[in-house]
Symmetry: C2
Subunit: 299 residues, 2 copies
């Protein structure tokens, strides 16, 4: 049981965390903080938070746990604003999609209090956002990756893990560097590729005709290009090195494919398509089995 | 009303065409032909076809309409096999995903009977296939693109359009060259990109860890990489020129994006992401409005 949790950013991610913990009876009071007073007032109205913090000091005073659920580029500034008021025994965590940059800015902002910061990343994004998008069951069966620091006490890491588990999430642990490489590959690169395709098509003189014939395959492929441009600008820059590395590997693969296509090498093309199809089939079966198990476990 | 329709390839596409026309009471007899006797027997069992053709001559004798719904690479051979038996008044159409190559092979195979061939492409692919995948309502509200030849009589084109309209489809017309450029852009290129991404990831030494963290965005982005490798090998080769052109434009776009990322140009990245997000939003709203209208029209 947490007596007080402070949440910076009361939108989809922070709001759903609060709702889930309240539903589980795991928190007595949730205090909301953030840049937008309108969002905070809406979160209060929706019962996501119990009170709006009047200052960073007020937000964290007496809190067991602080969650930073704001865009990653703001994490450093938020941590700096609460650093002077962080009491012994208050644990801080975050929900940023990148971890290397968050850890670096946390070290700068928190100084000797860095041991109180346990970095995390819930894998539960959606296109919708804001307090109205928050839902109690967002994290049920979803992964939360924690990337603990060498300075963290294991009891603090466990306390953060417990909070997410109360929300129904499955806890994984990676180093910040591993995390950023993994997500550059399976999340950040696909976003860049989808944005690039839609931008490419939209800029052609006959874009209207092209869009007219785009069908369900195109819709699924480009769904992630519907995500927030600001958020993905920040993620791209925050994970610049790993993303450049993945982008270069992908360009090499495309160049290889182009060569096969230009030379009419059907067997070569088919081998790549088949390897991809089989790998995806294998992955999808595993994912569906895990989802089924989560659903049955949750009933 | 068609008294006899012959269908070469009784899977998802050909089978659904037959089921829809039967449902509409628009055909008296459907004859099935194809390479796989097992598929033909299954189609007979499912009531998709009424009889299995004993030969190409038998298939087309007395038919008003012949649909070729086999992989595009087989179209030429099938047309050549029926050419000697094609009677005056029999119209032939196809369901191939590429049109330039189909028209070229049709000219070779049909010779002076080319005027009887009206090329078409129903935009209604799915990942499933075979007679068991065929469904009556597959084409309801879907587009069918006809790419008529200068040799076609307008009454013949209209007769093919009528058949598809009886299935609930919406008829569009393009030239074969326009068709191939459009679909290289909004369908063939995305397939290549999705296959390339999954193959790239699957070949990495730490592929298992990467797939473990792939989530719903990845699933949607790569859904089309679950499609048939043989079919997409054939489509890639059949539409080689247009696909190479689209691939080159896309690689240029990626190179531009890489430059912005490498130089930390957040505003430049955001401008591309925003253009893509807005274009996709605009497109998606139009698609959803059209779907809603189709649904209401169908009730």
């Amino acid at each position: 049981m947490f007596k007080k949790i402070a949440i910076f950013g009361v939108g989809l991610i922070g709001g759903s965390f609060a709702l889930a913990l309240k539903q589980a009876g795991a928190v007595a009071q949730v205090v909301g903080a953030g840049r937008s007073l309108a969002s905070l007032e809406r979160a209060l109205e929706l019962g996501i938070i119990d009170v709006i913090a009047t200052s960073p000091a007020d937000a964290v005073a007496g809190a067991d746990l602080v969650l930073i659920a704001a865009p990653v580029a703001q994490t450093g500034a938020i941590l700096a604003s609460i650093q002077p008021y962080l009491q012994v025994g208050t644990i801080v965590t975050d929900a940023g999609s990148t971890k290397g940059d968050v850890v670096a800015s946390a070290r700068l902002a928190l100084g000797e209090k860095i041991s109180q910061f346990v970095p995390g990343h819930p894998i539960a994004g959606r296109e919708s956002n804001g307090p109205d998008a928050a839902i109690t069951h967002l994290y049920v069966g979803k992964k939360v990756v924690l990337t603990p620091l060498s300075e963290n006490a294991e009891t603090d890491v466990k306390r953060v893990a417990d909070a997410w588990e109360q929300c129904g999430a499955l806890i994984h642990r990676l180093s910040a560097a591993q995390h950023d490489l993994v997500f550059a590959s399976v999340s950040h690169l696909p976003h860049v590729l989808a944005y690039a395709l839609v931008d490419d098509i939209a800029n052609k003189p006959h874009a209207d005709i092209l869009f007219q014939y785009a069908a369900s395959g195109f819709r699924d492929f480009t769904r992630i290009a519907g995500s927030s441009p600001e958020m993905w600008r920040d993620i791209s820059l925050a994970n610049q090195d790993a993303l450049l590395q993945e982008l270069d590997a992908y360009q090499l693969k495309l160049t290889q494919l182009r060569g096969l296509l230009a030379s009419g090498d059907g067997a070569g093309l088919e081998a790549i398509y088949r390897n991809a199809q089989q790998a995806r089939h294998h992955w999808n079966c595993a994912i569906e089995a895990a989802e089924k198990q989560n659903k049955e476990g949750g009933d």
